[in-house]
Symmetry: C2
Subunit: 287 residues, 2 copies
């Protein structure tokens, strides 16, 4: 358990971390820091918030764990900004969807001779098409995978503390290097997002009233197309190379299906469907 944690820019994920940390007793004191004054006022009334700081530098003072929950392009700069204000032995983590660039920037920001703090990246696979702290839940991480992504140079003790924190929130921790993480999520998260969004963008060119005819299949397949485009643009930007590789591998597969349909090769059509089913059937249930 940490005596004090600071959560910077609490939206859906950050506020859920606060709720869960309170619920599971993973932190004695929880400080939140939000940019907008009206959000700060609202957070002040919450039982999972002990203190609301006006600035990040104020928020991180005395915190043993700092969790940065901004969009991915602001995590590096913010780590740089708070670096001189961190306590000795403090750990900084984040909840960004891409890890290579962030972890390198984070380590660099805390590498100054005076700094005794450590950066260890995290990525909870527990987003939603919704954003904002109003949608937060204490059980958001229960049974969900949280990636913890140390560089080969990262302090092992700090990595273990971050992993233990997520485990305390009932998450399943997977520890992988940032590069491996980015390859994995390009396939299992960023590619599905692109498919859902481009499917909707493609259907938008036809009669849009057709969407009212859709069943559960269309509904589920496209749910995440409602996600925040600006947020996702930034994620795709940071993981461009891996995402491109995943998209191109997928295009090959789809082209194979198109060719089989064009050739009336029904044996091959069924074989592709069978391979998809064999992959999907063993998915572990989510609580």
């Amino acid at each position: 358990m940490f005596d004090q944690i600071a959560i910077l820019a609490p939206g859906l994920l950050g506020a859920s971390v606060a709720r869960a940390a309170r619920h599971y007793g993973a932190a004695k004191r929880i400080t939140l820091c939000a940019r907008r004054p009206e959000t700060r006022l609202q957070l002040k009334g919450q039982p999972w918030c002990d203190h609301v700081a006006d600035t990040p530098t104020e928020a991180v003072r005395d915190a043993q764990l700092v969790i940065i929950c901004t969009p991915v392009d602001q995590i590096g700069p913010l780590t740089h900004q708070i670096a001189p204000h961190l306590s000795a032995g403090a750990i900084v983590t984040d909840v960004g969807s891409v890890k290579s660039e962030i972890c390198r920037l984070g380590e660099k920001a805390l590498a100054a001779p005076a700094s005794l703090a450590t950066f260890v990246g995290s990525h909870p696979m527990a987003g939603s098409q919704h954003t904002g702290w109003e949608h937060s839940r204490a059980d958001l991480f229960v049974g969900r995978v949280v990636f913890v992504t140390p560089l080969s140079t990262t302090d092992v003790k700090a990595t273990e503390k971050v992993a233990a924190f997520w485990t305390a929130l009932a998450a399943d921790v997977a520890t992988v290097e940032p590069d491996a993480h980015d390859e994995i999520v390009a396939h299992i998260s960023h590619l599905p997002q692109i498919l859902a969004s481009t499917l909707c963008a493609s259907l938008a060119k036809k009669d849009v009233r057709w969407r009212n005819f859709g069943g559960g299949g269309l509904r589920d397949t496209t749910r995440i197309a409602s996600s925040d485009p600006k947020l996702w643009k930034t994620i795709l930007e940071q993981n461009r190379d891996e995402v491109l590789r995943a998209v191109r591998a997928y295009q090959e597969e789809l082209h194979g299906m198109e060719r089989a349909l064009a050739n009336r090769d029904w044996f091959e059509v069924q074989a592709i469907l069978e391979r998809g089913k064999a992959y999907r059937d063993p998915f572990r249930p989510i609580p």
Copy 2:
């Protein structure tokens, strides 16, 4: 309300029709006909089943409405088989996912001079990745779209009766011609199925343990990849031309995204994501 309905080959959809017809009082007497003796035994004990027939020809005797729930490639032949045994004024419908070929075969099968029965196609947008009558539910059609697909030559009264039947089961009926139906479902149902299946088939070529890391996005986007491959092969076979058109239009869209990523055209990447979100956000909630 119908005095007697017959449901041939009740799986998830057919048994749900029986349950719903009983629940909403849409039929006084419900006859089911299953091919396998053990299924017939199980059905006999159900409160939403008044009689279990051994053969389709026995089942349809005295029925005013016959609902064929076989895979799509068997609907035409089965209509042909039962045609001589239908009562005068009987209506035959089905629950197949493709309509052009089925409706033409159905009309032809009932066009013999002696036949006084009418074929009117139906397609409830209420499937699931599950099959089998054990998964059936009385509320499966509540708030779901059911297509009713008369040909221009189909008797208007018969069409109205089929529409009224589905409305009685709390479904939202959409009446469209078979060709228009097939174009619509190629886009909003068959294309999403292909995307889910090919996404899984593509991911199956990478480290399959990655699937354990997946969040709700991967889960929802791929759910229907667990559907029955043989059933879907037959659906894609019957709707090949429209499906190919939909797949190719989608490939264009995905190629646009790939190009934008390759060119680092982040303005265009975000624009595609915005178009997808604008299409998805107004989806009507399903009960």
